[in-house]
Protein backbone atom coordinates (compact mmCIF):
# COMPACT_ATOMS: atom_id res chain seq x y z
CA UNK A 1 0.00 0.00 0.00
CA UNK A 2 1.46 3.36 -0.99
CA UNK A 3 1.51 6.28 1.40
CA UNK A 4 -1.14 8.88 0.66
CA UNK A 5 0.02 12.46 0.17
CA UNK A 6 -0.11 14.26 3.48
CA UNK A 7 -3.54 15.75 4.27
CA UNK A 8 -3.36 19.38 5.38
CA UNK A 9 -4.00 19.93 9.07
CA UNK A 10 -5.21 23.38 10.02
CA UNK A 11 -4.39 24.87 13.41
CA UNK A 12 -4.97 27.87 15.65
CA UNK A 13 -1.57 27.81 17.38
CA UNK A 14 -0.61 31.37 16.41
CA UNK A 15 -3.98 32.81 17.45
CA UNK A 16 -3.98 31.02 20.83
CA UNK A 17 -0.30 31.76 21.46
CA UNK A 18 -0.88 35.48 20.94
CA UNK A 19 -4.00 35.31 23.15
CA UNK A 20 -1.86 33.84 25.94
CA UNK A 21 0.79 36.52 25.40
CA UNK A 22 3.51 34.04 24.52
CA UNK A 23 6.31 34.59 22.02
CA UNK A 24 7.32 31.81 19.61
CA UNK A 25 10.48 31.30 21.66
CA UNK A 26 8.52 30.96 24.93
CA UNK A 27 6.12 28.41 23.45
CA UNK A 28 9.03 26.56 21.82
CA UNK A 29 10.91 26.37 25.14
CA UNK A 30 7.79 25.19 26.96
CA UNK A 31 7.14 22.31 24.55
CA UNK A 32 10.80 21.48 23.90
CA UNK A 33 11.25 22.41 20.24
CA UNK A 34 13.20 25.01 18.25
CA UNK A 35 11.44 28.37 17.77
CA UNK A 36 11.56 27.82 14.00
CA UNK A 37 9.52 24.65 14.42
CA UNK A 38 6.75 26.70 16.06
CA UNK A 39 6.84 28.94 12.99
CA UNK A 40 6.52 25.98 10.63
CA UNK A 41 3.65 24.60 12.75
CA UNK A 42 1.81 27.93 12.69
CA UNK A 43 2.14 28.17 8.92
CA UNK A 44 0.85 24.60 8.54
CA UNK A 45 4.10 23.52 6.88
CA UNK A 46 4.75 20.86 9.47
CA UNK A 47 2.28 18.54 11.18
CA UNK A 48 3.25 17.70 14.77
CA UNK A 49 3.47 14.25 16.29
CA UNK A 50 0.72 13.31 18.73
CA UNK A 51 3.00 13.90 21.71
CA UNK A 52 3.96 17.40 20.48
CA UNK A 53 0.29 18.20 19.77
CA UNK A 54 -0.59 17.17 23.35
CA UNK A 55 2.23 19.29 24.80
CA UNK A 56 1.05 22.31 22.78
CA UNK A 57 -2.53 21.69 23.91
CA UNK A 58 -1.40 21.56 27.54
CA UNK A 59 0.66 24.72 27.20
CA UNK A 60 -2.14 26.65 25.49
CA UNK A 61 -4.72 25.18 27.91
CA UNK A 62 -6.95 24.23 25.01
CA UNK A 63 -8.03 20.77 23.85
CA UNK A 64 -6.26 19.23 20.84
CA UNK A 65 -9.55 19.23 18.92
CA UNK A 66 -9.88 22.98 19.35
CA UNK A 67 -6.32 23.63 18.14
CA UNK A 68 -6.07 21.23 15.20
CA UNK A 69 -8.63 20.40 12.52
CA UNK A 70 -8.85 18.69 9.14
CA UNK A 71 -11.06 21.54 7.91
CA UNK A 72 -10.14 25.23 7.95
CA UNK A 73 -11.20 27.19 11.04
CA UNK A 74 -13.75 29.93 10.62
CA UNK A 75 -12.26 33.34 11.13
CA UNK A 76 -13.80 34.96 14.21
CA UNK A 77 -14.27 38.71 13.87
CA UNK A 78 -13.55 40.59 17.03
CA UNK A 79 -16.01 43.51 17.09
CA UNK A 80 -15.37 44.47 20.68
Amino acid sequence: MSRQPEEPIFNRIEELRIEKGLSRQQLADAVGVHYQTVGYLERGEYNPSLSLALKISKELQTSVGEIFSLTPFRKVRNNA
Binding site: V33, H34, Q36, E45
Partner: protein
Protein backbone atom coordinates in the same frame (compact mmCIF):
# COMPACT_ATOMS: atom_id res chain seq x y z
CA UNK B 1 29.83 22.92 39.02
CA UNK B 2 29.61 23.71 35.29
CA UNK B 3 28.34 20.89 33.10
CA UNK B 4 30.92 19.20 30.92
CA UNK B 5 30.80 19.80 27.20
CA UNK B 6 29.76 16.44 25.79
CA UNK B 7 31.65 15.31 22.70
CA UNK B 8 29.79 13.35 20.01
CA UNK B 9 32.67 11.43 18.44
CA UNK B 10 30.64 9.80 15.69
CA UNK B 11 29.23 13.11 14.43
CA UNK B 12 32.44 15.01 15.20
CA UNK B 13 30.68 17.80 17.12
CA UNK B 14 30.36 19.04 20.68
CA UNK B 15 27.16 19.75 22.62
CA UNK B 16 28.03 23.42 23.14
CA UNK B 17 28.99 23.85 19.49
CA UNK B 18 25.71 22.37 18.25
CA UNK B 19 23.59 24.34 20.73
CA UNK B 20 25.37 27.57 19.87
CA UNK B 21 24.62 27.06 16.16
CA UNK B 22 21.03 25.93 16.75
CA UNK B 23 20.24 28.89 18.98
CA UNK B 24 21.77 31.50 16.62
CA UNK B 25 24.15 32.64 19.38
CA UNK B 26 26.47 34.26 16.85
CA UNK B 27 24.24 36.93 15.31
CA UNK B 28 26.88 38.14 12.85
CA UNK B 29 26.04 35.18 10.58
CA UNK B 30 22.30 35.95 10.50
CA UNK B 31 22.59 37.23 6.90
CA UNK B 32 23.60 33.73 5.81
CA UNK B 33 20.32 32.17 6.91
CA UNK B 34 17.90 33.61 4.33
CA UNK B 35 16.88 31.08 1.70
CA UNK B 36 18.25 33.25 -1.12
CA UNK B 37 21.71 33.52 0.46
CA UNK B 38 21.73 29.83 1.34
CA UNK B 39 20.98 28.96 -2.28
CA UNK B 40 23.72 31.31 -3.53
CA UNK B 41 26.11 29.53 -1.16
CA UNK B 42 25.06 26.12 -2.54
CA UNK B 43 25.74 27.30 -6.11
CA UNK B 44 29.15 28.74 -5.13
CA UNK B 45 30.03 25.57 -3.24
CA UNK B 46 29.10 23.43 -6.26
CA UNK B 47 31.33 25.58 -8.49
CA UNK B 48 34.17 25.25 -5.95
CA UNK B 49 33.80 21.48 -5.93
CA UNK B 50 33.81 21.32 -9.74
CA UNK B 51 36.95 23.51 -9.77
CA UNK B 52 38.60 21.23 -7.19
CA UNK B 53 37.79 18.17 -9.29
CA UNK B 54 39.11 19.89 -12.42
CA UNK B 55 42.51 20.15 -10.69
CA UNK B 56 42.88 16.53 -11.78
CA UNK B 57 43.37 17.82 -15.32
CA UNK B 58 46.33 20.02 -14.34
CA UNK B 59 48.79 17.92 -16.39
CA UNK B 60 46.76 18.61 -19.55
CA UNK B 61 46.15 22.28 -18.65
CA UNK B 62 49.83 23.07 -18.05
CA UNK B 63 50.74 21.59 -21.46
CA UNK B 64 48.12 23.77 -23.13
CA UNK B 65 49.40 26.87 -21.33
CA UNK B 66 53.02 25.96 -22.10
CA UNK B 67 54.29 26.96 -18.65
CA UNK B 68 57.88 26.43 -17.48
CA UNK B 69 58.35 24.36 -14.32
CA UNK B 70 58.91 27.28 -11.89
CA UNK B 71 55.88 29.25 -13.07
CA UNK B 72 53.90 26.03 -13.14
CA UNK B 73 54.57 25.32 -9.46
CA UNK B 74 53.65 28.89 -8.44
CA UNK B 75 50.43 28.97 -10.51
CA UNK B 76 49.45 25.49 -9.34
CA UNK B 77 50.14 26.25 -5.66
CA UNK B 78 48.23 29.55 -5.69
CA UNK B 79 45.26 28.03 -7.55
CA UNK B 80 45.18 24.94 -5.32
CA UNK B 81 45.37 26.97 -2.07
CA UNK B 82 42.69 29.41 -3.29
CA UNK B 83 40.29 26.67 -4.40
CA UNK B 84 40.81 24.51 -1.29
CA UNK B 85 40.40 27.48 1.08
CA UNK B 86 37.23 28.50 -0.79
CA UNK B 87 35.79 25.01 -0.46
CA UNK B 88 36.73 24.68 3.23
CA UNK B 89 35.33 28.19 3.89
CA UNK B 90 32.22 27.42 1.87
CA UNK B 91 31.69 24.23 3.85
CA UNK B 92 31.95 26.14 7.15
CA UNK B 93 29.52 28.84 5.97
CA UNK B 94 27.15 26.16 4.70
CA UNK B 95 27.10 24.45 8.11
CA UNK B 96 26.39 27.79 9.82
CA UNK B 97 23.64 28.65 7.33
CA UNK B 98 21.70 25.48 8.22
CA UNK B 99 22.56 25.71 11.94
CA UNK B 100 24.66 22.54 11.77
CA UNK B 101 21.51 20.42 11.44
CA UNK B 102 23.16 17.85 9.19
CA UNK B 103 25.83 16.97 11.76
CA UNK B 104 23.81 17.31 14.95
CA UNK B 105 22.98 14.22 17.03
CA UNK B 106 19.30 13.28 17.39
CA UNK B 107 19.15 14.10 21.09
CA UNK B 108 19.87 17.79 20.42
CA UNK B 109 17.25 18.16 17.69
CA UNK B 110 13.46 18.37 17.79
CA UNK B 111 11.14 16.12 15.76
CA UNK B 112 10.85 18.45 12.74
CA UNK B 113 14.60 18.99 12.60
CA UNK B 114 15.20 15.23 12.71
CA UNK B 115 12.66 14.76 9.90
CA UNK B 116 14.21 17.37 7.57
CA UNK B 117 17.73 16.17 8.41
CA UNK B 118 16.76 12.57 7.54
CA UNK B 119 15.12 13.66 4.27
CA UNK B 120 18.25 15.57 3.26
CA UNK B 121 20.38 12.49 3.97
CA UNK B 122 18.06 10.37 1.81
CA UNK B 123 18.49 12.76 -1.14
CA UNK B 124 22.24 13.01 -0.48
CA UNK B 125 22.49 9.21 -0.54
CA UNK B 126 20.72 9.07 -3.93
CA UNK B 127 22.89 11.83 -5.42
CA UNK B 128 26.09 10.18 -4.10
CA UNK B 129 24.93 6.90 -5.61
CA UNK B 130 24.68 8.55 -9.04
CA UNK B 131 28.07 10.27 -8.63
CA UNK B 132 29.77 6.98 -7.68
CA UNK B 133 28.01 5.20 -10.56
CA UNK B 134 29.24 7.80 -13.08
CA UNK B 135 32.81 7.60 -11.69
CA UNK B 136 32.76 3.79 -11.87
CA UNK B 137 31.49 3.87 -15.46
CA UNK B 138 34.23 6.37 -16.39
CA UNK B 139 36.84 4.12 -14.77
CA UNK B 140 35.61 1.12 -16.74
CA UNK B 141 34.77 2.73 -20.07
CA UNK B 142 37.33 5.59 -20.06
CA UNK B 143 40.52 3.59 -20.75
CA UNK B 144 38.81 1.38 -23.36
CA UNK B 145 37.54 4.36 -25.30
CA UNK B 146 40.82 6.27 -24.69
CA UNK B 147 38.87 9.19 -23.20
CA UNK B 148 41.80 10.35 -21.05
CA UNK B 149 44.82 9.91 -23.36
CA UNK B 150 48.27 8.91 -22.08
CA UNK B 151 48.59 11.88 -19.66
CA UNK B 152 45.13 11.40 -18.22
CA UNK B 153 43.69 13.00 -15.10
CA UNK B 154 45.39 12.69 -11.75
CA UNK B 155 42.77 11.27 -9.39
CA UNK B 156 43.89 13.04 -6.19
CA UNK B 157 41.88 16.23 -6.75
CA UNK B 158 38.87 14.20 -7.81
CA UNK B 159 39.18 12.25 -4.57
CA UNK B 160 39.40 15.47 -2.50
CA UNK B 161 36.35 16.82 -4.32
CA UNK B 162 34.35 13.63 -3.75
CA UNK B 163 35.29 13.69 -0.03
CA UNK B 164 33.99 17.25 0.26
CA UNK B 165 30.83 16.31 -1.64
CA UNK B 166 30.27 13.45 0.83
CA UNK B 167 30.71 15.81 3.78
CA UNK B 168 28.72 18.76 2.48
CA UNK B 169 25.91 17.27 0.38
CA UNK B 170 23.35 16.86 3.24
CA UNK B 171 23.97 20.49 4.30
CA UNK B 172 23.73 21.65 0.67
CA UNK B 173 20.37 19.90 0.26
CA UNK B 174 19.11 21.30 3.57
CA UNK B 175 20.28 24.79 2.62
CA UNK B 176 18.45 24.56 -0.69
CA UNK B 177 15.18 23.12 0.63
CA UNK B 178 14.57 24.82 3.98
CA UNK B 179 12.10 27.70 3.76
CA UNK B 180 12.45 31.02 5.54
CA UNK B 181 10.47 31.52 8.75
Amino acid sequence: MPRRNKIYWFEGVTEKGVKSLLNDENSKFRWLRSQRNRRVLVVLMSLGLILTASGSYWTSIKKELNLNSEVEIIVFSIAAIFVLFSVVGGYSFLRISVRGLADAPDELLDERQIQVRNTSFRYAYLVMGYIVLILMLLMIVGPRLELFGSDGPDGSFLLISVMFIFASLPSMILAWREKDI
